[in-house]
């Protein structure tokens, strides 16, 4: 079965049937999913109920019981249906041993 995925610029949201992530409830209805280091523009998730997981400083998982909407100054917004998502940041090849994150 093909994975359901949504893309906004350099961020890919891949829907997961099951997630083993340890989610935390976000206290606000807005969550900065990724910072735009190049432009200062951020990917911001807006939802009344947001659960998230992080790897380091990077949000890598989302659980959205009632769905959400991802906003960004330079991209059209994306609606995410209710569910759990893996958040993947786009990368770029630099050498056999190194990749770098792509930033909007």
């Amino acid at each position: 079965m093909k994975k359901e995925m949504y893309r906004q610029g350099d961020i890919l949201f891949v829907r997961r049937e099951h997630s083993y992530a340890d989610f935390s409830r976000h206290e606000s209805d807005r969550l900065e999913v990724a910072q735009g280091e190049a432009t200062g523009h951020h990917h911001v998730l807006v939802s009344p109920e947001i659960h998230y997981s992080k790897f380091g400083e990077m949000v890598n998982g989302l659980s959205l019981p009632i769905g959400g909407r991802v906003e960004h100054e330079e991209h059209a917004p994306i609606e995410l249906p209710p569910g759990q998502y893996e958040v993947i940041r786009q990368r770029e090849y630099r050498s056999e041993f190194r990749t770098t994150d792509v930033t909007d």
């Binding site: 893309r7 906004q8 330079e74 991209h75 994306i78 609606e79």
Partner: protein
Amino acid sequence: MIPGVQNSIDWETNRARTHPADRAAAEDAARGFYRTVGLFGELRSVLWADSFPEFFQMVRQVGQAQFPWFWLRRRLGDASEYAPLLGWFEHPFTGRKIEWEFPNPRLEKFRAIRPQLLRAGTPQWMLDDLIDQKLARLFKSDPDFKGFEDGDWNMDDEPESYPQSYFWHQLIPSVYRDSFGKVLLNRFDNTALMTCESVAATRILEQCAAFFPSFHCVVLCDFPERIEPLDGKPVGESLTFTGRFRSGEEFFVWRGCPLADRRELEALLDIGELSRDRLLDFPEVVQRQIREVLGDRSLMLSYGISNLAEVLPNEDLHALIESQSTEDLFEISKREGFLEQLGTDDFGTLFRRRMSEELEPLMFVEVLNSTPEPDGSFRNYVLRVPPDVSTPREAVAWTFGTIDPEDYQPVRET
């Protein structure tokens, strides 16, 4: 700084000086320096060099580069660790440290025995003095030094002479860049304690092109007669220039690097035509500077990857490529006409630039931004991808990590 004391020198003006040195004034300043510093003994003789080559020759003759290690140690502080002396010279224009390649087996030996001496109850201050005396023995021409015998110390491990690299890598470039004294002064400026020496050294450097202190003897160098910048900058600021001393000796400097002759300078002025073999003919210090210059982004853009591949060893070229932005690499490759289009699909266009056999090809995927610009147009952007991808879809899927290319099909994309 001592209040009211002028402790600076106008280096640009100083470097532009082409009048004959006021030798009496320079020697007076040198005497003042010796009195102030107090660690070289009384100044008894002054050697004047008419040119830089002669200056270096004299510095060697004065006693195999009697560099005032103990004096520096005392000024720099720490008695037990000589690490501050390593990399003591700093590149004056990049701020990068130049590694000090001075062999010093005695210091290693001393480090080894120092804990034993401390354990044996030797007072710290005595140990410090011991270091000074030990190091002072390096300066064999010091007639006042009475010697200090110690069974733990083996004089045989003293090198007969300092290596050529010391001159090539440290001293000569420093003087040509007019930084020898400057670096000294920068160090002195760090603490008020050193200010007196700094001021005294400044006085000398206002009167001559370079100086080198050793026991009871100082080597001074006259100013050049002419300096001709080749980089369009004023004389005092130029880093690429030719010069001539009154003795007739000419000197050639390319981006701060002293060169052996005019042919080398001419070759470097047309650096884009340099072959790799030709590059390897230069002394190591020049090679390093060449690679640094070639690593400059603007040169990469000017000369392109193809020319650089002719000049740089593979590992340097690889490092240079890795440091460049994808946009620049793509544009250069496109301009040079080496981009092959490998395929187009709904996800973008895949390009390859072949490199030499030893280097992997550069692969790019050009994709269209899904969100229109304010004017309604769509912007392309380029990403580098691994050399083993074969379709644009596979390339874009790779940029999102572990996504299977067959699975990569966003429901919505903006």
